[in-house]
């Protein structure tokens, strides 16, 4: 069984007072709570500190935890004899057991008050990373999670599960799927907890997402912007031809209807190609001559409005 250093998680010494524990938890919760923090690791950090606090704030659980002795995080240790007795197993029986699950079930197993009170099982939340292409195409994905399952002696073992999930039309980043009753088991007839799967869309190298619309940077050469022409651009459904009008400006958004993401109501967002005008880093001697001829012959004055003080 793996040891977890709950004092270290809260940044405390082992002899910390109850008030210190509460203070440390509050301070760190404000910093990392997933509902208020922008820290991408906030959720994980908060989970660790909530787990530590749940054990250390309860005098009975804290005493049992302190009894395990001082070890380093991640160290394998042999569960004390009274645990082995309670769960009717030897040290090896604890191999796939998470310390947090033991302490979460501690008050019932320890025979403390209100043993027969029905208690609902715990809810779990896991992230499912998907690509923008998967969101676009829909279809089935598999999500893995390790969830505790109780054996006949009430010992919670972590068991790997795979859930098959169908991505619905109109799926979006942050959308949640509820798998009813797939969370922790209820105790004394309490209902089982739920498993929530949160869709997390990986950032795409080409497209930016805004609602159901997609934005794509479209670099043009100066002569393409001036002369116009037909070019090919990528979309999630494959390349399409796009007509560039002569005199296209940087920053212009070219809208391609129905090339974005699908909506639940069957409608489809648009793809916007945002024009950027790129110039070559280096030019050949021939190009140099042509640009110089162009400079000498052009009457274009991009900064004419500076002289008059009017807007562009």
């Amino acid at each position: 069984m793996k040891f977890k250093d709950y004092y270290q998680a809260l940044g405390l010494e082992r002899g910390a007072s109850e008030a210190d524990i509460k203070k440390a938890y509050r301070k760190l919760a404000h910093q990392y709570h997933p509902d208020v923090s922008k820290d991408p690791q906030g959720e994980e950090k908060f989970k660790a500190l909530a787990e530590a606090y749940a054990t250390l704030k309860d005098p009975e659980k804290r005493a049992a935890y302190d009894n395990l002795g001082q070890r380093s995080s991640g160290e394998q240790f042999t569960p004390p004899p009274d645990w082995q007795q309670r769960y009717k197993t030897d040290a090896a029986g604890f191999d796939d057991v998470d310390l947090a699950d033991i302490f979460a079930a501690f008050s019932q197993a320890g025979g403390r008050q209100r043993q027969d009170m029905p208690r609902p099982g715990q809810d779990y939340e896991i992230a499912a990373w998907v690509t923008l292409e998967q969101i676009f195409r829909g279809g089935e994905i598999e999500v893995g999670a390790e969830l505790p399952e109780y054996d006949q002696n009430g010992l919670p073992h972590r068991v790997a599960h795979v859930f098959k999930i169908t991505i619905p039309n109109g799926a979006a980043d942050g959308q949640r799927l509820r798998l009813a009753g797939q969370g922790g088991h209820g105790v004394n007839g309490g209902r089982a907890g739920d498993l929530y799967v949160v869709l997390a869309v990986q950032p795409h190298p080409l497209y930016r997402v805004s609602g159901r619309d997609l934005y794509l940077d479209l670099p043009l050469a100066p002569w393409e912007a001036v002369l116009g022409g037909n070019i090919e651009i990528p979309t999630l459904a494959g390349p399409v031809a796009l007509n560039i009008k002569p005199g296209t400006l940087a920053g212009q958004k070219l809208r391609l209807a129905k090339r974005g993401l699908g909506n639940r109501d069957g409608s489809t967002g648009a793809l916007y190609a945002v024009v950027r005008i790129d110039v070559p880093n280096q030019v050949s001697p021939r190009e140099q001559v042509l640009y110089e001829q162009l400079a000498a012959n052009s009457t274009f004055q991009p900064r004419a409005h500076f002289a008059t003080g009017a807007g562009a």
Binding site: R26, A29, H30, H33, D35, V36, F46, A50, P120, D123, V159, A160, H161, V162, F163, K164, I165, T166, P168, G170, A171, Q175, R176, L177, R178, L179, A180, G181, Q182, R191, D194, R208, V209, S210, G211, D213, Y215, D217, G251, K253, R264, Y272, V274, R276
Partner: protein, 105 residues
């Protein structure tokens, strides 16, 4: 490995559920959820119905309320204020994302 299929619900589905259901899956009391309704943080879908019914997406709000209440030991005023501010930040964040998407990198 343990493969399974189960009853799944995307939380933006159009199905409607009674208040008791929100209470059951969030762990908040009926009174606490009523409080969120009266403040306007969640709204029933059909005003005509005798019993108010809610879209499943409100589960997220009530679950968030439960987390804030438990993790920060907030009372119902504190929960309502935090939810209001979080919602405003979400709206601003969405607007910022839309602006950034349109501006290019």
């Amino acid at each position: 490995m343990n493969e399974q299929q189960s009853e799944t619900n995307w939380l933006d589905s159009d199905n409607l559920y009674p208040l008791e259901y929100l209470a059951e899956i969030s762990g908040l009391s009926i009174e606490e959820i009523d409080d969120l309704v009266s403040i306007g943080l969640i709204a029933p879908s059909a005003a005509t119905a005798e019993r108010p019914v809610f879209q499943l997406c409100h589960v997220l709000t009530v679950k968030k309320a439960r987390r804030l209440r438990d993790d920060f030991q907030l009372n119902h005023h504190g929960v309502a204020l935090a939810l209001t501010l979080i919602r405003r930040i979400d709206e601003l964040q969405a607007e910022l994302t839309a602006l950034r998407a349109g501006l290019g990198r």
